[in-house]
């Protein structure tokens, strides 16, 4: 292979792939090179100069973090001169660094502390006149510039991985500090990734500040439950206080070197449920189930719970309602009937590595922030073309998106058909399929969806030289009336082009539930027991339930993430009350423990018969995700036939889009203490004029028999005639199409 470069590090023969630096090769080979500013998921900052190495024949030192090796070069990572140089760098870092390790939140896990001890900095030869530096409070984030070592990790992740581009380094020699970009205070999505990567105590969570020390907290490896990305995280728990035996979660941490978390994952951890064993409620629940005709449940459950519900269904002969997962399953069945494979083909890693992404049907920055981060990474690192098709232009995506395709509400079928037609222009289609696309009424579809030929041609042009392409399909498509046909069209793209497809499930375990349960159409009958959902008798981990059960941070079990990966989660906190397994035991379908069901998950859907305790839950030192296992691919008969694209629906009048604001996902995030709750109806000036409302008005929004009163907020960053209506604080019903024609009336304050 000509792409491999052979060289030696400390006399050891090593091989680098194209694009690898000396540092990445050394780390892979287990050779230690100290760094202060290097972080694997961004491009090297090269600000610390700790990673210096010597190369034979090269004068001076070489920065290993951003230097690719050349054939046959001999690298030495540890010499007296290097040690001297690195010790001096550490001394410089220590100049005027406040000696407040005793109170600093980072003490015990501080890079500066560790490296100062590692290099034995016992005396200081450098001085500088100290500055007065003001501690800044930026909402959820606290910044202490006097502790900051200006490694720039935070700036790099914010810009390259997250895409907020909200912080910047204000250069001023010794006065340099991190400042909010183009703003007085920090205006961002508060993902808190800057806190995670900060090697010292400069950036910390305002809520966590000074409440506990690193060494007191016990870490529980778990999986985030707020969206379908299923990010790995660690809940850090400690006793609640001096007078309490109970534990509580103090903060959430992640393996920031390789993975990212959004703000809801990082700050929204206190949604646990508290209850004791209430026998009367338990017997009522059993009684209610005996008389019930159906169980309605949300996808905020583990695979094991889903399997228990399925067993209850089989035992009691009742129906199972979960519109969100049912629509998803339906979509996937149609998809599989054309693609021949049960699961979608792309992963988040594929998005990160891609150089072209088309995303349709999702306000992704709030639906699934990690997909957004993956797209940002692709855009910044690979210069990927990001084509964002949606009726609402998301201001959060401005920095990332290269082409915005604005289509009319409800015309998703037409848009995907047009996309398929253009993307499969040169594909090796069968005559029948070729004829199908030739018969499409382009003019009508373009006119109705408002996506013109020139826009599509421009897209094709920008895609022309790309190799790794991903099509991301969001929740609006699954919830669409014509979802089945759209699924087949998407599968056509997957089958005949080099696009891989990522389908974004709505909730944390929508995918798992759709694979585990056979679901029925929700016909809203009475005698329904709700499981984390509405019903005549409600068993739920949310407040005001008839029988309280454990929340997802108090449960063991598995989820299926967007990557088709079955990942385990662990109980961070205890729960005294009953669980679904206890109810199932009453009906003879329970197990000794809920996790005994992990190995019984349906193999026909791709699950493996693996014990829960054999599932790993961490990332490897090289950053590979080795949590749980990936679902087996299941071959499906390809009998799907494309149906003609009929008339596209028209949405006229006032349209709202039921989408949550940043940091909010569902009723659980609504319970948390730190997350901001923006309950306003947000719209552009254009919307305000059309709906005859103005900023600060109290309005009643009514659609399809539902109504909610909200305050209208006019936002300058928004465009278009669609207002954004949050759903985290009321039961909107999952799985419904999120654009709604609605009536907006001003109401008086009384």
């Amino acid at each position: 292979m000509k792409n491999l470069i052979n060289f030696t590090i400390n006399g050891k023969d090593v091989t680098a792939k194209k694009g690898e630096t000396i540092l990445t090769v050394a780390r892979r080979e287990g050779i230690y090179i100290p760094t202060m500013c290097y972080i694997s998921k961004t491009t090297p900052c090269a600000s610390c100069r700790m990673c210096l190495v010597e190369a034979k024949g090269v004068e001076g030192f070489v920065l290993s973090c951003n230097t690719p090796p050349t054939e046959g070069i001999e690298i030495t990572t540890a010499t007296d001169a290097l040690q001297q140089e690195r010790t001096n760098i550490m001394k410089l870092y220590d100049v005027n660094h406040p000696l407040e390790c005793g109170v600093c939140d980072k003490s015990g896990e501080c890079d500066l502390q560790n490296k100062t001890l590692e290099f034995g900095v016992a005396k200081q030869n450098f001085t500088a006149r100290d500055q007065h530096r003001k501690i800044e409070n930026w909402g959820l984030i606290n910044y202490d510039p006097s502790l900051c070592i200006l490694c720039e990790k935070c700036v790099h992740v914010c810009n390259e991985v997250i895409g907020d581009d909200a912080i910047d380094l204000q250069f001023g020699g010794y006065k340099s500090k991190v400042v909010p970009k183009n703003s007085d205070t920090l205006d961002c999505t508060f993902c808190g990734e800057c806190i995670a990567v900060c090697p010292v105590g400069a950036l910390v969570s305002s809520d966590f500040k000074y409440t506990a020390n690193a060494w007191e907290l016990s870490r529980v490896p778990a999986t985030c439950v707020h969206c379908s990305a299923g990010c790995p995280l660690e809940y850090e728990t400690r006793h609640t206080g001096i007078a309490s035996k109970e534990k509580s979660i103090y903060r959430v941490k992640n393996n920031f070197e390789f993975s990212s978390l959004c703000g809801a994952g990082r700050f929204g951890f206190d949604f646990e449920n508290k209850a004791s064993k209430d026998e009367t409620a338990f017997h009522k629940a059993v009684e209610a189930l005996k008389n019930a005709k159906a169980i309605r449940f949300s996808s905020m459950i583990t695979n094991e719970e889903a399997l228990l519900l399925q067993r209850l269904k089989e035992k009691l002969g009742i129906k199972l309602f979960n519109e969100d997962a049912r629509r998803f399953a339906e979509f996937m069945t149609s998809y599989a009937s054309v693609s021949g494979k049960k699961h979608h083909s792309a992963t988040l890693e594929a998005v990160r590595k891609s150089d072209a992404v088309i995303i349709i049907g999702s306000m992704i920055a709030t639906d699934n922030p990690v997909v957004r981060y993956a797209m940002t990474t692709a855009a910044k690192h690979n210069g990927a073309k990001i084509i964002y098709a949606h009726p609402v232009e998301d201001p959060l995506m401005q920095n990332t998106v290269t082409q915005f395709l604005k289509y009319e509400v409800g015309t998703e079928e037409g848009v995907v058909a047009l996309l398929a037609k253009y993307l499969l222009r040169d594909a090796d289609l069968s005559d029948e399929e070729r004829k199908y696309f030739e018969n499409l009424d382009d003019g009508y579809l373009s006119a109705e969806s408002n996506i013109g030929e020139d826009e599509l041609e421009f897209m094709m042009k920008s895609l022309s030289r790309t190799k790794n392409r991903v099509l991301i399909i969001g929740n609006d498509i699954m919830a669409h009336k014509e979802a089945k046909n759209i699924a087949k069209l998407a599968a056509m793209i997957e089958k005949y082009s080099d696009f891989s497809i990522l389908i974004v499930p709505r909730d944390v375990n929508t995918l798992g539930v759709s694979l585990t349960c056979s679901l029925d159409e929700d016909d809203s009958q009475s005698d329904v027991v709700g499981y984390n959902a509405a019903g005549n008798f409600v068993i739920s981990s949310l407040p005001r339930a008839d029988l309280a059960i454990a929340s997802l941070n108090q449960q063991e079990g598995t989820f299926v993430t967007i990557d088709n990966r079955v990942v385990p989660t662990n109980a961070a906190l205890g729960f005294e009350g009953y669980e679904l397994n206890d109810i199932a035991k009453e009906f003879g379908v329970g197990k000794a423990l809920t996790i005994d069901l992990t190995k019984e998950l349906p193999v026909a859907s791709g699950f493996k018969a693996v014990d829960f305790d054999n599932l790993e839950n961490f990332l490897s030192p090289a950053g590979d995700d080795i949590r749980g296992y990936i679902l087996d691919e299941i071959e499906v008969e390809m009998d799907g036939v494309l149906s003609d694209v009929e008339d596209l629906p028209e949405f006229n009048g006032t349209i709202i889009y039921n989408v949550n604001p940043v940091l909010q996902f569902n009723a659980y995030t609504n319970l948390t203490k730190q997350l901001e709750r923006d309950k306003t109806l947000r719209g552009s000036a254009q919307f305000a004029a059309a709906a005859r409302v103005s900023d600060g008005d109290k309005v009643e929004i009514s659609y399809e028999g539902k109504s909610v009163v909200r305050t209208f907020k006019q936002e300058e960053s928004l465009k278009g005639t669609i207002a954004l209506n949050p759903t985290f604080d009321f039961d909107e019903g999952t799985g419904t199409y999120r654009f709604q024609k609605s009536k907006i009336m001003r109401v008086n304050d009384e």
């Binding site: 109170v103 000074y210 506990a212 001096i242």
Partner: protein, 204 residues
Amino acid sequence: MSIEQFKNRNVSDDYFLVDIEDYPTDGWGQFKRVVKRTFKGELFVGLWVVLREMIKFDIHTVQYPKEKMPIGPRYRAVHEMKRLWESGTERCIGCGLCEKICISNCIRMETKIDENSRKEVSEYSINLGRCIFCGYCAEVCPELAITHGARYENASEQRAHFVMYEDMLTPIDMLKAGQQQEFEGFGAITPHEDERVKKTPLAY
């Protein structure tokens, strides 16, 4: 050197054998010894000493618990929390090292950020029922804030027996009156410590 040398007990020439009468071997001899010891005048010597001291009223009894013996400065009894001499503020910075080092796991604390953005100890307790008074907490304390005091009475109605932060803290009036006692035990600063402190080089 041989073992004989060690067996020789005559380390000095001043040693002599005490002149002790042989023990009586028969019953009559034993009877005579009892009578001799019983009616010795020394009994009255003892009685006289008691009478003399009673008349002199030179009494050395400590009237515990009203009176207590002074206790050594290094004695490790119930903990105290010290204040800074200059400002009167609490020395404890809430670093949590005492909680960490405590081998009987009897220290617990809660900290928070105060209105001046400083770390503040909001709750602090030591379970004296578990405490083994090893002194590690005082030794590890970087601020000489937690120390051992002289209060050694720990009787309690139950095994768990807590002492709270406010109880341990030197009252502010005692501090102002200069009555705060510095602990001299393990972990305390040694005399002439300030002579050994090196200054940070400040070239400017």
